[in-house]
């Protein structure tokens, strides 16, 4: 088998995944079994792609030529491949959790949700492997469409309204801002390929670069920059396995990845031309991050609190993309991995608590760690990691981001990054502490039977992985360093 074929199989696998779930929709054991097996196989394929890429086998697949100057094509590169492998691995972890969650909640349409989760994760991976801006945009929009019904999963007027906000913000931004940005880029460069050094290098002047960069940054609304961040709190109406993995991790990270690719591969050296837009956008990203943490503190409902924490933490990726030094871009890429793993674990815990105790508020978690020790140990590790507390994985993104800003002589940015991390810790750290050290509640469980292993095992593995990622930092740095040297 060659790398092209392997890449093609990886790209098409989510369709087979969705069909398998759909075919077994009425047999819960078969459905969940197929979902878990295929999700793990998909993650395995992703890691094979990474290994082959490291060995020099770089695949290329062109499926169509919808524009005369741009193929619908995929070509893995280290940053995108790292993101895709992260999404696929988290998808594998999410598959058993989703099975346990939907069973515990006695969900009416679990197969539909699982199909949409598989497709959304697959489209997120496809976007990460896009060979050009056109393909990225197409997969990004398709991912928005596929993930939208998950927000409206439970039905009802309020939830439908949340779905409209989600769909409206993300798709409007992509059509009204991203599409013109892409057309403008095409007008300047004559094509849309991701190119090392930047497609627009030497082809764009200062004023144009400022406006075009702003169009891209706000066009990728899923990166959560204010004022286009409201889609994520709205998405929290989705069931926990979707709200966590799909919306807070994959959709948000694909937006951040888009910004990294635009900064590195579309602008490249031309980022220096956007001398007005860059600092303004950094302030919006990091100022918004601090503000989002403060809003998160005011939220008692757990999922909205996690949503605002996500807005705060994914903003570090946007800031890294705007600082645009190799170290900062490396930090932003690494943050996608660290944040994805940590945030998925947090949502797993929130989902497990909701399914087993019916509790959905942060104030109701006090002492619950004594009843659910595995879940809350994982919650604490993940909370510390996403809050960038050393030596957990998130701290390394912070370290490199600070180093990147310092090397770019942006000391004020360093101050903002540190303030953002303190605020981020305040939203989740004390919560984890109260859950573990507070007085244990009596009779918290609403389910008569014990917690399903499908629910708790992924939570525990997620927490352990936040710790384990520490040992993968070196190989990951070397892999990402193919393009970016920290």
């Amino acid at each position: 088998m060659n790398a092209d074929l392997l890449l093609l199989i990886f790209l098409l696998a989510p369709i087979g995944h969705a069909m398998a779930i759909g075919a077994a929709a009425r047999a819960p054991a078969l459905r969940d079994g197929a979902n878990i097996v295929i999700a793990f196989a998909y993650a395995w394929l992703a890691f094979v792609l990474v290994n082959w890429h490291q060995a020099g086998a770089q695949g290329y697949v062109a499926l169509a030529r919808p524009l005369p100057t741009a193929d619908f094509a995929f070509a893995p590169e280290p940053i995108g491949l790292t993101a895709a492998a992260t999404f696929a691995a988290l998808g594998a972890l999410n598959a058993p959790f989703a099975g346990g969650f939907f069973r515990a909640m006695q969900d009416k349409a679990p197969a539909r949700a699982q199909v949409l989760i598989a497709l959304s994760v697959g489209l997120g991976c496809a976007a990460a492997l896009a060979a050009n801006l056109f393909t990225f945009l197409l997969c990004y929009q398709a991912m928005i469409v596929a993930s939208f019904p998950l927000v409206a999963h439970y039905g009802g007027p309020e939830i439908r309204r949340a779905g409209q906000i989600y769909f409206g913000i993300l798709l409007t931004a992509s059509v009204a801002l991203l599409l013109p940005a892409m057309a403008w880029t095409h007008g300047l460069a004559g094509r849309l390929d991701f190119i090392a050094g930047g497609l627009l290098a030497g082809k764009i002047g200062p004023g144009e670069a400022d406006v075009l960069l702003a169009l891209f940054v706000f066009g990728f609304a899923s990166a959560g920059l204010a004022p286009l961040h409201l889609w994520l709190p709205a998405a929290m109406r989705a069931p926990a396995p979707a709200a966590g993995l799909v919306h807070a991790v994959v959709v948000a990270s694909v937006g951040a990845l888009g910004l990294i690719k635009v900064s590195l591969l579309i602008f490249g050296e031309a980022m220096s031309q956007a001398s007005i837009a860059r600092p303004v956008l950094i302030v919006i990203a990091l100022g918004g991050s601090i503000l989002a943490s403060l809003i998160a503190l005011s939220k008692d409902e757990l999922k909205p609190r996690l949503a605002y924490a996500t807005i705060a933490q994914i903003a570090l990726c946007s800031a890294g993309a705007m600082i645009a030094t190799p170290v900062a871009l490396f930090a932003a890429s690494f943050q996608i991995v660290a944040h994805g793993l940590g945030k998925t674990s947090l949502y797993f815990t929130a989902g497990a608590v909701e399914a087993l105790t019916g509790r959905t508020r942060a104030s109701e978690l006090t002492g619950l760690g004594k009843r659910m020790p595995w879940a809350f140990a994982a919650f604490a590790l993940a909370a510390l990691s996403v809050s960038c507390v050393p030596p957990l994985a998130g701290a390394w993104s912070l370290l490199w981001l600070v180093a990147g800003a310092a090397r770019a002589d942006m000391m004020w940015v360093v101050a903002l990054i540190l303030a953002s991390c303190v605020a981020s810790f305040a939203t989740l750290g004390p919560l984890a502490g109260r859950a573990i050290f507070g007085p244990a509640p009596s009779h918290p469980f609403v389910r008569p039977d014990a917690a399903s292993v499908l629910l708790i095992l992924p939570v525990a593995i997620g927490g352990a992985a936040c710790l384990g990622l520490l040992f993968l930092i070196d190989p990951l740095s070397r892999f990402l360093g193919v393009r970016l040297s920290p």
Binding site: A64, L67, L138, V175
Partner: protein, 500 residues
């Protein structure tokens, strides 16, 4: 033998494309049965398509046919250039699919004794549209514009016994049509007075050499306004609302997508004439007016589509929104802009055809039209029909991997190059509005349960047309080189270099 026949058809294509629907009209009117008339009209559309294809295949020169051997300025000139060859093939193919698929609607909605006349009126309106495409002088254009609207008014009125709203709608068509032809007529008279020529080639030549072209440009503006009405550009689309949402479903499926396309092509020819012959200031004024009208029209029609409660009315408004984008492309007054507009027009024709055909398939027994509720649960009731509608809606939005994306992309590129920023904004905003109205349709089709008394879709005759149109949308979305090349060739055949 076949080569000689091909050469004969090709050489005489300008008159043959017109004769085909006119002879079919006469044959249908004399036919004793509705089905016989339908077959004759379908045959006429097929003959039109064959002659158009003969003219278009290997297009290398302009085909001209001065009737009776009288050349301009005395004679009546019929011409086929790259633009009209492109449009004739498009219109011929969709006339065949529409007329072929409309038999059920013709039999259900029009009284038996009037069915031959309805078929004849359809062929007459088709001849009017063809006349707009092949006319080589101002007065022939005027005559066919008038002819098209009168035939459509008569056809609309024939639905009155089944749905009483068709009577006032027919009157509406005739009145609005009279206003449109009136505007065009005044404009043509102004152009004739200031140039002394009626033949479009001669008008172009005289204007290029003239020092003062102000009155001629006013005339061209009035003519363009009349043709913009024919193109169904909002807010000048009242006739299309009446004819295609209140008239018989037969007229919508057979003609609804074609007549506005013919009007738009004729308007595009005038834009090219203005670009090549007028002084730059006047040319920019005309271009500005057209782009603003297009942007406002696209947004206004999109807003109407969002609020539409009737499915056929929804299709009319969606078509008008697309026509606005076409006008924006024409306003760029360049080969790139016209190419994008032509591709957009083809895409509009295909998508709107699907919507009208779907509305015809979902028509109610009582003749009360097709309210939007007919879409409820269609994903389960008629999955293939709902897929065809989905393809059309996605293409209208300009979603990637549909033909609509490439056409909107071409338009955006042209507006960026011509620095028509409000035009680009109009195209993008109309895409966003399309997302909203399409999302509502998707929600009805896929997320709502079917109504218990929902009519069974009647797709027997419509299925081939729906299938071909949907496949075209997806196939050209994956590889749009062929339609893009055809649109480029059509736009390139116009005279862009002789201007000032």
């Amino acid at each position: 033998m076949s080569g000689a026949l091909f050469d004969f058809v090709r050489a005489n294509a300008p008159i043959l494309v017109l004769l085909a629907p006119l002879v079919a009209m006469a044959g249908a009117a004399l036919s004793p049965s509705g089905r016989g008339a339908w077959a004759i009209v379908l045959l006429g559309a097929a003959a039109l398509t064959a002659a158009a294809l003969a003219a278009a295949i290997g297009y290398d020169q302009r085909l001209s046919d001065p009737l009776g051997g009288w050349n301009a300025p005395l004679g009546v000139a019929l011409r086929i250039d790259g633009l009209s060859a492109y449009a004739l093939v498009l219109i011929g193919v969709f006339a065949m699919l529409g007329i072929g698929g409309g038999l059920g609607a013709l039999r259900d909605e029009i009284d038996r004794e009037r069915q031959p006349l309805a078929a004849a009126a359809t062929s007459a309106a088709l001849a009017g549209a063809v006349g707009l495409l092949v006319a080589g002088d101002l007065f022939v254009l005027f005559a066919f514009l008038q002819w098209m609207w009168i035939a459509l008014g008569a056809l609309t009125a024939m639905g009155a016994e089944h749905d009483r709203r068709a009577g006032p709608a027919a009157l509406n068509v005739v009145i609005v049509g009279a206003i449109g032809t009136g505007l065009f007529g005044f404009g043509a008279a102004l152009v004739f007075m200031s140039t002394g020529a009626a033949d479009l080639d001669q008008v172009s030549g005289v204007l290029s050499a003239a020092e003062d072209t102000r009155s001629a440009s006013a005339g061209l503006g009035l003519m363009a306004a009349g043709l913009a009405m024919a193109a169904g550009l909002a807010p000048l689309h009242a006739w299309a609302v009446g004819a295609f949402s209140r008239g018989p479903a037969w007229s919508a499926v057979a003609l609804g997508a074609l007549l506005p396309a013919a009007g738009a092509i004729a308007a595009g020819r005038l834009v090219a004439l203005a670009a090549s012959a007028l002084a730059p200031g006047l040319q920019h004024g005309l271009s500005l007016g057209l782009s603003l009208l297009g942007a406002v029209g696209a947004l206004a029609a999109s807003a109407q589509a969002m609020a539409a409660r009737d499915f056929r009315r929804f299709a009319v408004y969606a078509g008008a929104a697309q026509a606005g984008c076409v006008a924006i492309g024409f306003s760029a007054a360049s080969a790139g802009g016209v190419s994008g507009a032509l591709f957009q027009l083809a895409n509009q024709t295909v998508s709107i055809f699907i919507l009208y055909a779907a509305a015809a398939a979902l028509r109610s027994e009582s003749g009360a039209g097709a309210p939007m509720q007919v879409l409820q649960g269609l994903g389960k009731r008629a999955p293939f029909l709902s897929l065809a509608i989905s393809a059309a809606l996605l293409s209208l939005i300009g979603a990637p991997m549909t033909a609509g994306f490439l056409s909107r992309w071409s338009l955006l590129q042209a507006t960026f190059e011509a620095r028509i920023w409000w035009g680009a904004a109009g195209i993008i905003l109309s895409s966003l509005a399309s997302v909203i109205f399409a999302a509502r349709a998707f929600e009805r089709m896929y997320l709502r349960a079917p109504a218990p008394d929902a009519p069974r879709p009647r797709t027997t005759y419509l299925a081939p047309g729906l299938f071909i149109a949907a496949v075209m949308i997806i196939a050209f979305g994956f590889d749009g080189a062929a339609p893009l090349h055809a649109a480029d060739a059509a736009a390139g055949s116009l005279n862009w270099g002789g201007g000032r």
